[in-house]
């Protein structure tokens, strides 16, 4: 009868579920995938980035972020803000214009699309006639001037997007008003540049691609002056006072032209090829910026000598006899220079150069000598080297947090001390209630520590494991630093470096103990490193050990990669995590699971061959266990044997073709020879066609013990529980394999006073074979109250209630197909949830999480957060295994997104939406980290007022003044929260605030480690298939 009682029909439980669970995708961390346009609003101090998938992202002060997505899935070609407004215009590659605005709703700003518009030409006109090349928002904020491929400039009124035909500047009109000689020499072609006079809103500069530049009087509809250059025009810059025009050209030259109403210059004041005399590539964009010292900054993109440096992505800065060509790691999408905002100021006084490259954002401080980089607080390139795994640690103790930050600050000495110059908007998000770390492992053997507590994912510290090993390439770090007299004066900037020296260095598993500062890191070539946090630099040798996982098996040959060769002797390590033990698995297969118990000083690791336990205090191997099935050749031989299977599959497919041909021939009745031949050919064609049309089919077969990779160790887990009898609990190690086997080992760890002398002992106590043989993805022990056991040292640090050791413990085994609860110590099945049999979905990731209620401060429940192969996220209750809620989160086709997902202890999670971006989601009503920010044009006015008052001589130099006018007040405001700042609080839900502060101390058992990521992640997105127009 019990089975007919369906869960979920209890109204009070339904109500409680609403208080506990809620699904939100809150924020995207990292660098936008495939950026295609850059915009900057000097008045709002906001940066806008458009992407090829049609997203627009705005960034201001740390925490101020907005995202908008076009309905069309088209690339954003240009982004420009309307001067002084909270509005921006985007141009997509389908030639449509979109108006976005930041509107204040309930105390926070929201980015929304207001309207869109496509420019239409007269009927019958070529599409190029209205193909927009340049967008110029006029300073009156009522007009947009649109330069097109036909050479015509259209005028459109905003908002409303109404084309004003009488305001259009047709190429014919310009031609008629040109003097005779200019008219003869040139046809117009497309508009390359369109700029408003910096002082006079009635003058517009129009640059045509063939080299003609005209200054057009909007009111009088006449040409004020014109300039003719002999080269194709790429871009134009108007000096701040409007008296000088700088044009750059396709041959790598730039020209300066004096503007005066009375004389018509035939030749430029100065023409120069900065990297001549050999042929150079085009200079595609140029800035000419004045300073109060007198000497201008010339900043231009490209222009490198074609033959020797044509493949570099460079931006050169020339000032006061100093010249540097910043050499970027990926294609430069666009750049801008932050300078004096007030139009009345006499000088530009540039402060920072902001460069959007394909893979990262680089900001260069132009005020500090040497032009150092500024470390961005957001838009971090997560994929500097491809991400291979990730690990999240919640609620880091302050002590460890500070030590990690201290270690990281030693690594960041080369950054500029300048404060982040893009600081528009106000973040209203509450200070994060706890400190969270996200650790990412990378292909090049590094582990990056990110501050994942708030909206901005900030790099705290970078750990490299490379120094422990000999690698092919010797550290040639000074390759980029060239001598003083080198020409061109290249300087590498940016951190994107996708090329790994040795793929074996890749990090596959990470495990950090937040209480002791022990870190275990495991990699592709079976290497397991145990590291300890040390605040001082030190030189010491790393203890090495080998774990032979094939001990009893014989006659197998590993055909995969060799193991890494460790450096003998002492190695010097920077302050931070320093390795002291290296265990290398033999055969050196990828480490597939890792667990660290800092209290017992044990580290467990598993590969496709077996698992082992290592005592890192005594530096002694405790035991190894081979999990291989003797018939599993594939696992034994290593990754290379896949070549063989490819050969096999090719052979099979050829056989299939032949068979289909033969059978189709057979069916044909015998006839005249010619006909047979023809018929044969036809049948062959038909056969091929059939084969192409043949749908995908799937074999239905039960799993057997002989399947491949059954010995692959998927999960390892330490627990202090009743493994052998119900009267005494003891330390234990649990391991789950791909073949549905769970091994349990009873451990004897000597008491602390004899820990250094007596050996740790282990003996196998149990072995469970799940009959459905699905891979075991998670093991968890629940205490007498049905709560997962706490992490090691957690109770000792008073951060968790001690587990209930009175009631009976339960073992939860999660396979890809089922959840199953067994009693302990006598393992008998108690409960199960058959997920796959019911839904056809399989568990990809599972983790215990604590869900707090948004209504009652102290109420919370422990449940399982589950991600399936269909991209659904479910919550399954503990200990009764009742499905609670289900949300679809990731597209089922997004295999790498699903593989990268990592859950936190408080019902949040991260997954990669591109190689460079993590999406953050929340299942909890209580723990929400999302941007809440306010951008106000009124606020902008307040900001710009004092600046005007302070006069031009202060300008951007304030960047290093401490504290700044508004920054001095802002942290206080942030602490006060909306209650303290009713103006900003608006209608925001105050309860969200309060609850977000009430950190709960509950913690769950260790999170399950993420799987290694798929190889396609390392695929580089360097395919500039389509030229993106990045002119202004």
């Amino acid at each position: 009868m019990r089975r007919f009682l369906r869960s979920g029909h209890d109204p009070s439980r339904e109500r409680l579920k609403r208080d506990l669970f809620q699904f939100n995708k809150t924020v995207e961390h990292g660098f936008p995938h495939q950026p295609s346009a850059l915009g900057y609003s000097p008045s709002l101090r906001l940066l806008a980035i458009g992407t090829r998938s049609g997203a627009v992202k705005l960034y201001g002060a740390p925490g101020v972020e907005f995202m908008g997505l076009h309905r069309e899935n088209n690339a954003v070609v240009q982004v420009c803000f309307l001067p002084g407004q909270c509005q921006l215009i985007t141009l997509l590659d389908d030639n449509s214009l979109h108006l976005w605005s930041l509107k204040v709703k309930g105390g926070v700003s929201e980015l929304q699309e207001d309207e869109s518009f496509t420019l239409r030409g007269p009927p019958g006109a070529a599409p190029s006639a209205t193909q927009i090349t340049v967008v110029l928002p006029h300073s009156s904020c009522k007009m947009l001037y649109l330069g097109t491929e036909s050479g015509n400039v259209f005028a459109v009124q905003v908002p409303g997007f109404r084309a004003l035909e009488d305001r259009a500047i047709s190429s014919d009109a310009v031609l008629q008003r040109l003097p005779e000689e200019a008219r003869q020499r040139r046809v117009f072609e497309m508009v390359e540049a369109l700029q408003e006079h910096p002082r006079d809103p009635n003058q517009v500069l129009i640059g045509y691609s063939r080299g003609l530049i005209v200054v057009w009087d909007l009111r009088g509809s006449r040409v004020l002056c014109h300039f003719l250059s002999s080269q194709q025009l790429d871009s134009v810059c108007w000096q701040r006072d409007g008296r000088l025009i700088v044009s750059c050209h396709s041959d790598g030259s730039y020209c300066q032209w004096a503007v005066s109403a009375d004389t018509q210059p035939l030749e430029p004041v100065r023409s120069c090829v900065p990297y001549g005399p050999f042929p150079c590539k085009a200079i595609t964009k140029i800035f000419w910026l004045t300073t109060k010292q007198g000497l201008p900054f010339t900043i231009f993109q490209g222009g490198m000598p074609r033959a020797s440096y044509g493949d570099r992505h460079c931006i050169s800065v020339v000032h006061n006899g100093q010249q540097t060509a910043f050499d970027f790691t990926s294609r430069v999408i666009d750049f801008t220079v932050l300078s004096e905002v007030d139009p009345a100021a006499a000088f530009d006084d540039p402060c920072a150069l902001v460069v959007l490259a394909e893979e990262e954002l680089v900001v260069i401080d132009l005020q500090t000598a040497g032009w150092p980089q500024v470390q961005p607080p957001y838009l971090a390139s997560l994929h500097c080297s491809a991400i291979t795994c990730s690990h999240h640690v919640s609620n880091i103790p302050l002590k460890l947090w500070e030590r990690i930050i201290a270690a990281g600050s030693c690594q960041n000495t080369h950054f500029s001390p300048m404060e982040w110059p893009i600081d528009g908007g106000t973040s209203l998000a509450p200070t994060p209630p706890q400190r969270d770390l996200l650790l990412t492992g990378h292909e090049d053997g590094t582990v990056r520590f990110w501050d994942a507590s708030g909206v901005c994912l900030r790099l705290l510290y970078k750990l490299s494991t490379v120094h422990v090993f000999f690698t092919d390439s010797d550290p040639s770090e000074h390759l980029g630093a060239q001598g003083e007299d080198e020409w061109p004066p290249l300087r590498k900037v940016g951190s994107f470096d996708p090329y790994s020296d040795d793929p074996r260095l890749g990090i596959q598993k990470i495990f950090l103990c937040k209480y002791s500062g022990y870190l275990a890191v495991a990699g592709t070539a079976g290497q397991v490193l145990v590291l300890e946090l040390n605040d001082e630099a030190a030189e010491h040798s790393v203890e090495q050990a080998e774990a032979d996982l094939l001990q009893e098996q014989e006659g197998y040959r590993w055909k995969g990669h060799e193991r890494l060769c460790a450096r003998p002797g002492p190695v010097r390590f920077e302050p931070g995590f320093q390795p002291f033990v290296l265990v290398q698995c033999q055969p050196p297969a990828v480490v597939t699971s890792l667990a660290l118990h800092s209290e017992w000083r044990l580290v467990a690791f598993g590969t496709s061959h077996g698992f082992g336990l290592f005592d890192h205090q005594q530096r002694r191997q405790v035991f190894v266990k081979c999990t291989l099935h003797p018939s599993d050749q594939l696992a034994l031989e290593g990754p290379l044997s896949r070549v063989k299977s490819l050969k096999k599959s090719l052979r099979q497919s050829f056989r299939r073709i032949r068979r289909s041909r033969v059978s189709s021939r057979k069916r044909r009745p015998a006839g005249p020879a010619g006909e047979t031949q023809e018929g044969g050919a036809r049948a062959e064609r038909a056969g091929l066609q059939n084969m192409e049309l043949a749908p995908v089919q799937r074999k239905i077969e039960a799993r057997t013990a002989e399947d491949s990779f059954t010995g692959f160790v998927r999960t390892l887990y330490f627990a202090d529980t009743y493994l052998r009898d119900s009267s005494r609990h003891c330390p234990s190690l649990w391991a789950g394999t791909n073949g549905g086997t769970v091994y349990a080992f009873a451990l004897r760890v000597p008491p602390a006073e004899r820990r250094a002398d007596e050996p740790v002992r282990a003996e196998q106590a149990k072995e469970i074979q799940l009959m459905h043989r699905a891979p075991v993805v998670g093991i968890l022990v629940l205490d007498g109250r049905g709560v997962p056991l706490p992490e090691p040292l957690e109770v000792a640090h008073d951060l968790s209630k001690s587990p209930d050791m009175q009631g009976g413990h339960q073992l939860l085994v999660v396979s890809e197909e089922q959840f199953k609860v067994f009693t302990l110590p006598k393992v008998s099945a108690k409960l199960k949830l058959k997920l796959t049999a019911l839904e056809g979905s399989r568990v990809r990731r599972v983790s215990a999480a604590h869900f707090g209620s948004c209504r009652a401060e102290d109420y919370g429940e422990h449940h399982l957060a589950v991600l399936t192969n269909l991209g659904d996220i479910q919550v399954v209750s503990l200990p009764l295994l009742k499905p609670q809620v289900r949300y679809s989160c990731i597209r089922r086709e997004d295999v790498s997104g699903i593989a990268s997902c990592v859950f936190t202890r408080h019902g949040q999670g991260f997954y990669l939406i591109s190689p460079s971006e993590f999406e953050r989601f929340s299942l909890s009503t209580k723990w929400l980290v999302e941007p809440r920010c306010l951008v106000d044009s009124a606020e902008t006015k307040n900001h710009s007022r004092p600046r005007n008052g302070s006069g031009p001589e202060k300008g951007w130099g304030r960047a290093r003044e401490e504290p700044r006018h508004r920054d001095g007040a802002r942290p206080a405001q942030r602490r006060a929260g909306p209650e303290g700042d009713p103006e900003h609080a608006g209608g925001g839900p105050p309860e969200l605030w309060r609850l977000a502060f009430s950190a709960s101390g509950h913690e769950d058992a260790p999170e399950l480690l993420s799987l290694s990521l798929l190889p396609q992640w390392s695929e580089r997105a360097a395919c500039p298939g389509r030229a993106v127009n990045t002119h202004y």
Binding site: P695, T704, K766, E767, L770, E817, L831, K832
Partner: protein, 368 residues
């Protein structure tokens, strides 16, 4: 390492020509041996058995446990030879009174298994009356179920894989099927059987065919699910797979009203339900639904050293769901033995984990 995994121990006897026979009637055991090469006639064996057990005046049926733990009949020379030649190394023989063997109703899986034990009479002991009923000396590999509640155009097939070494042996594919909708005919995506593996279980049943549309898997509709989801569902249910299909060939449908042309009639395991298609028993709908519909997991408790604490006189090896180990000491009823045997059947490792005979004997490390 658990010693029970060493195979060599049990295989050592293979070369001997003598086959050890352990015969069981009720709670009594008898041991004797046979020549592996020349086992002789069934008649002689029958006489020998009834003689050794002193039951010469009782009609009995004889069965043996094969390597998979299935109870198979010995009632003619051929299966007698097979039994002797496949003994590994012990031939375990079970004897039942004929009246007992023919009792029992086909009500559940347990009784269905017991059916397999019921042995058909042969040769000299010909019965006068005609016996009509479910076939006795065959193990069911498939059945058509729920005929009474399904539309005639549909067929619900149950494949019994337990103990069977045959692969399930079929493939499924995506396709489109035509449905009658209010607006007329419409094409909807569907899942179809695309291939039957020769010699596989699916082919041998004759109940599934290429291009049959799969409508449900164990009571769950597949509409709206992807091929991969349906594949995973079928594999997850492979121990007891129930597929509802719409056969491509509609001429062999089971007709209602007594004119049934199918081999099996109504089945008792049909349950009316809320589904659009009546579903079979709601398998695994609830986490606390620990039914015996599934083969239990095997738990080995391995320890190389003697335990410090006295342990119950139970076991080192235990099968989940098979009840407490202590209950097995009194193996008076065949039912529990059979259930035990059948629960071990499909685990290919059991021959390693449990040496044959380990059920009653005191093996080196494993007892039950």
């Amino acid at each position: 390492m658990n010693r029970s995994f060493h195979k060599s121990q049990t295989l050592r006897f293979y070369s001997c020509s003598a086959v050890e026979v352990k015969s069981k009637f009720g709670a009594e055991f008898r041991r004797f041996s046979l020549d592996r090469q020349k086992p002789g006639k069934f008649e002689d064996f029958y006489q020998l058995v009834v003689h050794t057990h002193h039951i010469a005046n009782t009609e009995v049926t004889i069965g043996y446990a094969d390597v998979h733990g299935d109870l198979l009949p010995i009632n003619n020379d051929d299966n007698f030879c097979k039994a002797v030649s496949s003994a590994n190394p012990l031939l375990r023989v079970f004897i039942q009174k004929r009246e007992e063997a023919e009792h029992g109703l086909a009500t559940g899986s347990l009784s269905r298994r017991r059916k397999a034990l019921a042995l058909r009479e042969e040769g000299p002991r010909r019965r006068p009356h005609l016996h009509i009923g479910l076939p006795h000396d065959f193990r069911p590999v498939s059945s058509i179920i729920d005929v009474d509640i399904l539309p005639e155009t549909h067929r619900r097939v149950r494949l019994y894989r337990h103990g069977c070494q045959k692969p399930l042996g079929f493939y499924i594919r995506d396709g489109t099927s035509v449905r009658v909708a209010p607006q007329g005919l419409e094409k909807v995506p569907g899942i179809f059987i695309s291939r039957l593996v020769p010699g596989g279980l699916a082919e041998s049943t004759g109940l599934l065919a290429v291009d049959d549309e799969v409508l449900e898997v164990n009571g769950i509709e597949v509409a709206g699910k992807t091929l991969d989801q349906v594949t995973d569902m079928m594999i997850a249910n492979s121990h007891n797979l129930i597929v509802t299909v719409k056969p491509a060939n509609q001429r062999n449908n089971v007709l209602r009203g007594g004119r049934a042309s199918g081999s099996s009639g109504r089945s008792s395991d049909s349950v009316a339900s809320r589904h659009s298609l009546p579903a079979p028993a709601p398998l695994g709908l609830h986490p606390d639904d620990m039914e015996s519909d599934e083969e239990p997991d095997v738990v080995l408790e391995g320890a190389l050293e003697p335990r410090p604490l006295p342990r119950p006189p139970g076991s080192l090896t235990r099968i989940n769901g098979a009840g407490p180990a202590s209950g097995l000491s009194g193996l008076g009823r065949e039912g529990s033995v059979l259930r035990l045997l059948s629960s071990l059947r499909s685990d290919p490792r059991h021959s390693l984990a449990l040496p044959p005979g380990g059920v009653e004997e005191h093996g080196p490390a494993v007892t039950l």
